[in-house]
């Protein structure tokens, strides 16, 4: 009823091509950003910020990264966790050698190291396709994980063999290390994620994104219309790894505050791949939906029995959560193989013609 664009006239191509052409969408985004930046920090408790929102945003960013590669360019990768690890370790080394430079700069810069590694492992993508490429990226995952364990220089030769996050400040307020409050860390994560999401949105709606999608839909045809496959594919690998690297650096510095190499194990790669598939391949919003479904839903489910005072033991609740989330994934994929993003789009479409759907 409220959600329809009757009376909103576009008088220029730019207005018609806008990412949010409908006024209601723009209002919605503004409200959500307002809630995320001002509302939530005011009302949310530490558990919600630290164990729900921060990881959700970080996973969403990693999912966007993988989505650029798998969803937009059609290249299946299982090396996501490895690329995230490169970001995390690069950030540690950078901030160790140059502690005077702000940590936020290094978190973003560590993405470039990840991009370089992604570029290298993307080289075979011209010749290898589909599942075979997935296996090739699996090699990246194992090789990188091996490096994280075996090269003590990477973790500054620390006795624990883990990344120890030092205290770093932004405008005098600690944002990493144990004294950083969840609210400040949340705001830093949110800002980075919002900025990078906008960047990704511009990327995929522009020339580069179109090239990626052309390669995804049919690479032979793309080549025939003059797209240079190797460059485009490598660019996709580099940009995707950049996003993953930043997500990995944020994960260790702004969420965990210290990590062993095993947080970048293969199951993390799968987790993010599932987020992308369930959220919707080739959509940015799907990355957020996927991260919410895979990460937040189990937490909510675990809290459910407690909330209703049911005497379920935590281990049983855990098993039950596995079952329910697994079943839900199947249900969602059967209902809509194109992911939650497609469901959302259908819902919007229905709303637009409401109350006379056809």
């Amino acid at each position: 009823m409220l959600y329809r664009e009757a009376g909103q006239y576009k008088s220029s191509y730019a207005a018609d091509m806008a990412i949010f052409p409908i006024l209601q969408d723009r209002i919605g985004v503004a409200v959500i950003l307002l809630v995320a930046f001002i509302g939530l920090p005011l009302v949310a408790n530490n558990f919600l910020l630290n164990s729900v929102l921060i990881p959700f945003l970080i996973f969403a960013l990693a999912a966007i990264g993988l989505n650029l590669l798998t969803g937009y360019t059609g290249l299946l990768s299982l090396g996501t966790a490895g690329f995230m690890g490169v970001g995390a370790y690069a950030c540690l080394k950078l901030t160790t050698y140059f502690p005077q430079v702000n940590i936020v700069v290094w978190i973003l810069a560590s993405g470039f190291f990840s991009a370089a590694v992604g570029f290298l492992f993307g080289l075979p993508s011209l010749r290898i396709k589909g599942f075979y490429l997935a296996v090739a990226t699996l090699a990246a995952q194992f090789f990188l994980e091996w490096c994280f364990i075996r090269i003590p220089w990477l973790y500054n030769n620390s006795a624990s063999g883990a990344i120890d996050v030092p205290l770093r400040t932004l405008f005098g307020i600690p944002i990493t290390g144990p004294t950083a409050t969840p609210v400040t860390r949340y705001l830093v994560v949110l800002s980075i994620v919002v900025v990078m999401t906008v960047a990704a949105s511009n990327l995929v709606h522009g020339r580069i994104g179109r090239m990626w999608m052309a390669v995804r839909d049919m690479d032979l045809a793309a080549e025939l219309i003059g797209i240079r496959l190797l460059r485009v594919k490598l660019l996709a690998f580099a940009v995707s790894s950049f996003y993953c690297g930043v997500a990995g650096a944020m994960m260790v510095f702004l969420w965990y505050g210290g990590a062993e190499a095993d947080v970048f194990a293969i199951d993390q790669s799968f987790l993010i791949l599932f987020m992308v598939i369930i959220g919707g391949l080739g959509t940015l919003i799907g990355s957020f939906f996927g991260a919410a479904l895979i990460y937040i839903l189990p937490i909510a489910l675990r809290a459910l029995p407690n909330a209703f005072g049911l005497p379920i033991r935590p281990a049983a609740a855990e098993q039950l959560t596995f079952v329910i989330v697994g079943a839900l994934i199947i249900v969602f994929l059967v209902l809509e193989p194109n992911g939650l993003a497609r469901l959302w789009q259908i819902a919007k479409q229905k709303l637009r013609v409401w109350p006379f759907p056809y």
């Binding site: 009302v43 408790n45 290390g177 004294t179 062993e260 190499a261 194990a265 937490i299 407690n306």
Partner: protein, 456 residues
């Protein structure tokens, strides 16, 4: 309709956030409901346990031991010092992510002590403990340098570090071979998990190898290859080490023992660290593993009065999660019991120190620093000979207690050597230097401000 479609696919970013907010609202409701404070009427002791996931085999007996001992105190004595213990388990699945979530969930409920039960989770929690004023008790696991109380006032890792364990192994080898001078020219292998935990004994063993003139051979097992070690044991057969120490965990242990049996390695020369001493680690090899021994920090078997009390007050009344009564007394079950017993004793000490009945995290930290469990005290607790005396101080948060050796007789463990002392003069300098390194690497590490109680 047609020209609107591209616009629509582009409207997605807008909607993402809308849905996000909805999800968050739901999550808020759940998490708010999930966290209900109830610390006023008892001592809140949360345990992070892993009854699910790839390591559940060791996690279940430990979790049962931890919880059953506290339940027994509640049933038999009405708690600690007359105050009920509120036990809560938080399931981690041995996953660091969930461990951090557990920490955030329990933090607000004024826990008197945190039991992370995973090295990865311990590492996350160490820097936060000082800020949140919650003591962390990582029982013979975690970060070895955190034994230094001057740098880590909130972390306790009694009764022994992995370095103590490795040094005890070397002392045991020397005892069997007939003296430290007999170690010269010997080949000693370390089969270890290729992860920070598994690699921890390496620096100490290297130092000892230099001092005593034995050769150290390393056999790393990648975490993904825990159940596929045949090629590694081919190397072992080629090198023919005289002794092998297994610093393994989870599925790696039974596999290592099986492979050792397969290549005919003498079982009495195979020694496991204390996390390689589960009943389920040796059982798959059965009688073939007879003679395999494992370091241990706790007594095995159900003959101790404390285990009998648990059977009587908890298991027989159906208040335990153990599958059957004979699980009580298993090695890892008893380890859980010992872990809880030390916590209970620290709480008791804190109650004595402060004169309060309901103590908080800060009091229990002091309790740990003044912990002194003598052999007589163990006897009073119904744990005569169950564990070595533990004495902690402000500077020493570990105690470096004597470590026993248990041997597998084909069906169960029994203690073969009651107590071997760690080579302290080798371990202590290493702890000191690594603790200093840790603090140096963590710029802004807080200086210890907590005052030290006068020893009573």
């Amino acid at each position: 309709m047609r020209q609107r479609e591209p616009a629509q696919t582009k409207g997605e970013t807008a909607m993402r956030l809308k849905h996000l907010a909805l999800g968050l609202a739901v999550a808020t409701a759940f998490s708010a409901a999930g966290i209900t404070a109830h610390a006023e009427d008892g001592l809140y002791v949360p345990f992070f346990t892993y009854r699910t996931g790839p390591f559940a085999g060791s996690g279940i007996p430990i979790a049962n031991g931890l919880v059953d001992y506290m339940t027994m105190l509640n049933e038999r004595d009405g708690g600690i010092g007359g105050v009920k213990v509120i036990v809560e388990e938080c399931e981690t699945g041995y996953d660091t992510k969930k461990g951090v979530e557990c920490y955030d969930a329990v933090k607000g409920k004024n826990p008197v002590v945190i039991t992370p039960y995973s090295t990865g989770i311990t590492l996350q929690v160490i820097p936060k403990a000082a800020v949140d004023k919650v003591p962390v008790f990582s029982f013979a696991y975690g970060l070895s340098p955190s034994a230094d109380g001057n740098q880590f006032p909130w972390i306790f890792n009694a009764p022994a570090t992995y370095w103590d364990g490795a040094s005890v192994f070397i002392r045991h080898v020397a005892d069997v071979e007939g003296g430290f001078d007999k170690l010269k020219g010997k080949k000693i292998g370390l089969v270890h998990l290729d992860a920070p935990y598994g690699k921890e004994p390496i620096p100490l063993l290297q130092a000892l190898a230099q001092d005593y003139g034995f050769e150290l051979k390393l056999y790393p097992v990648p975490a993904a290859q825990m159940q596929n070690q045949s090629s590694l044991w081919l190397d072992v057969r080629r090198d023919r080490p005289d002794w092998i120490f297994v610093q393994g965990f989870g599925a790696m242990n039974p596999t290592a023992i099986k492979e050792a049996v397969k290549i005919g390695f003498p079982m009495n020369k195979l020694v496991g660290g204390w996390w390689a001493g589960g009943d389920d680690d040796a059982r798959p090899s059965g009688a073939d593993a007879k003679g395999y021994s494992s370091l241990d920090v706790n007594g095995v078997g159900a003959d101790y009065p404390v285990v009998q009390d648990i059977v009587k007050y908890v298991i027989d009344k159906g208040k335990s999660q153990v599958a059957s009564k004979d699980k009580a007394g298993e090695n890892l079950y008893n380890r859980g019991v010992l872990n809880s017993a030390i916590i209970a004793e620290a709480i008791r000490t804190a109650q004595k120190l402060t004169g309060k009945k309901i103590v908080n995290g800060e009091d229990v930290r002091r309790g740990f620093e003044n912990l002194n469990i003598t052999a007589e005290r163990w006897k009073e607790l119904g744990m005569d000979g169950f564990a070595a005396p533990i004495h902690l101080t402000c500077a020493d948060h570990n105690g470096h207690a004597g470590i026993s050796l248990v041997e597998w007789d084909g069906t169960k463990w029994h203690t073969s050597v009651p107590s071997i002392q760690p080579i302290k003069d080798k371990v202590m300098p290493l702890i000191q230097s690594t603790a200093d390194d840790y603090v140096k690497a963590n710029a802004g590490w807080p200086k210890r401000t907590e005052p030290c109680d006068k020893p009573s």
